[in-house]
Point group: C2
């Protein structure tokens, strides 16, 4: 028996929308009719996902004027050029302000398509249909859209909330194991920063989640979305609280940059970054060493990387300094005050950071 | 004696900012210190305006880290490529989220720079320093930013309110007469749609405004900004009321497209479009023919075009159909229910529109 569809509601004050999580959503004509408005649609997808899921989605969307824009696959195509291609497609197909864009794919498709929707005619509606675990638990929720710049990740973008999110867990069946594990890094993150009970639950169930038990997967995604929805509702524009979602990410972005964005999937780099952030928290006396160890063990069960690459402490520090979250020169870190509660720390002994980096990167 | 600086306040609910209008603002160190925040600035200007006014602005901005990005001049450069060049410059100069962008120039510079500010790191602050009459009375106020697409004007953009606007009337001294007149078309527009007393005042004072009387110019700009601020405060995102600012513009955009965006300045096309909109209002029995005649006379005093180009009724209708304001196929027009009051009309006899176009365009 398939796991029932769960629905989480996001309410930012400006926007309210449902996130549906469950099996078969992409073929659910009723859900699509109720949640995808517009007589004209543009579906944005990529060359990997479109052959797998586009036809069933078209069927569910019913009789409308539907155009499509298929991007090349991969983070290297998360560029202004790709967003421009989506905009060209919207113009080419004479889409008006009341048209809706549907993003079918992983985080790159969702971020690029969402940014194009934000810019087209100063903003049209879009629906997220994420097909990777990472996109289902993180990037499709919360309205952050954007593209990379050669000078840095996500430097160009907009806040633009979707009209709805349909996370069809059936699509995870085609997801490579490595990408499933990378997505789990963000689920583990929610446990660390918000919900110790989720962390405990993951310790008990991670093996079965990796074996793709549908009910457990749905539960993990739903709880992740619930947490993200709560955080985004309190701070849509990342003025304060929302920054905790970046736990491990300042380190991760620098590691990704230092390794040319090719060695690690984003979630893998986040796994490394979370270990550094946890260790830093312990060094500053905020948490016990045992928490660092529990996190390391959980990441190991998920077969996520736990060994740091040999990139050098100096290079890492320099790259972190360029991260867009750096305000007026000081790097602020999301650290743990206990398992299940994060805190933003902007003041710490520089020697502690130097020691951390030296011990891990030499 | 120079005319005193006037300040209008815009309050959209989300954003509140001052528009200062008067002589010498670009050299007013105190105003710049109080209204341009940020320890790092990027000034965006163009090859025509920068040699004239950039140095004095730099002087007034005082001791900060200031970079510059000089775009080529002209509407043909209001493109995603230009916005991309501004974004490249922001990255290149390692600007963080707390940097401020300053747009020094006409409408193109303001729209491109404002759009880049909207997209950089999902939104940084910017200040408008408009140097043309059109930009001072219209495009620098209200937060509409964007660029053109080969498929249509302003198809790509964002709503992003500036932190402040400094309309230095001294900069109008270098403005060619033709551009001054084109700017006056929008001032006349405000009289038509909102303020019959302004229209009367223009009938009495237009000759002296064209002679660039500083006090009269300041008064015309201030009243225009006041009206625009009132409209934008009620409807920032153009869900209803704000559309009246497009009086004459549906016709104007089609005329500009039909003539390759080269024959008319935007304000000149608006002058033609307002006459068509007024005539259409009269044909529908909304206003007296005498109002159409008064508008025509006023535009003639401003030496704005009053003769329609020979482009054919069918072509014009087709181009209007593609305008981004067309909702679900019906062209909605901003018409006059009397001088000083506009109304949005979405239902009218098609024969009346056909007759109007045929009489004017053959």
């Amino acid at each position: 028996m398939p796991a029932p569809v769960q629905t989480i509601h996001v309410d930012t004050g400006h926007a309210r929308y449902p996130i549906a999580i469950g099996a078969g959503l992409l073929t659910d004509r009723r859900w699509m009719t109720e949640n995808v408005p517009g007589s004209a649609l543009l579906i944005v997808s990529n060359t990997t996902v479109a052959p797998l899921y586009l036809e069933r989605l078209l069927e569910a969307l019913g009789e409308r004027r539907i155009a499509r824009c298929i991007l090349p696959d991969g983070e290297s195509h998360k560029t202004l050029q790709s967003a421009s291609a989506v905009l060209d497609s919207l113009v080419h197909h004479k889409m008006h302000r009341d048209a809706t864009l549907v993003a079918l794919g992983g985080g790159v498709v969702g971020d690029v398509a969402g940014f194009a929707a934000a810019c087209y005619q100063r903003g049209i509606g879009y629906v997220q249909a994420p097909t990777t675990l990472l996109a289902q638990v993180d990037s499709s929720v919360g309205g952050k859209t954007g593209v990379n710049h050669p000078g840095g990740k996500n430097l160009i973008g907009a806040f633009h909330q979707p009209l709805a999110v349909a996370a069809d867990t059936d699509t995870l069946s085609s997801l490579p194991d490595r990408e499933l594990r990378a997505g789990l890094a963000e689920v583990i993150k929610y446990g660390c920063i918000w919900d110790a009970a989720l962390f405990d639950w993951l310790e008990r169930n991670l093996a079965n989640i990796l074996a793709r038990d549908p009910a457990l997967l749905t539960q993990a995604i739903a709880r992740s979305c619930e947490i993200k929805a709560q955080v985004v509702a309190q701070d849509e524009r990342e003025l304060n609280l929302r920054a905790i979602l970046n736990f491990g990410h300042t380190f991760a972005h620098a590691i990704e940059a230092a390794t040319g964005y090719s060695r690690y999937l984003h979630g893998e780099a986040v796994a490394l970054g979370m270990q550094l952030a946890a260790d830093f928290s312990a060094r500053l006396g905020m948490i016990d060493k045992a928490v660092v160890q529990r996190l390391r063990e959980l990441l190991k069960i998920a077969a996520l990387p736990t060994e740091m690459p040999k990139i050098g402490a100096a290079r890492l520090q320099e790259l972190m300094q360029m991260d867009k979250k750096v305000l007026a020169g000081t790097i602020r870190f999301v650290l743990l005050e206990r398992l299940g509660k994060a805190q933003i720390v902007g003041s710490y002994p520089e020697a502690a950071l130097a020691g951390l980096l030296k011990d891990h990167f030499g």
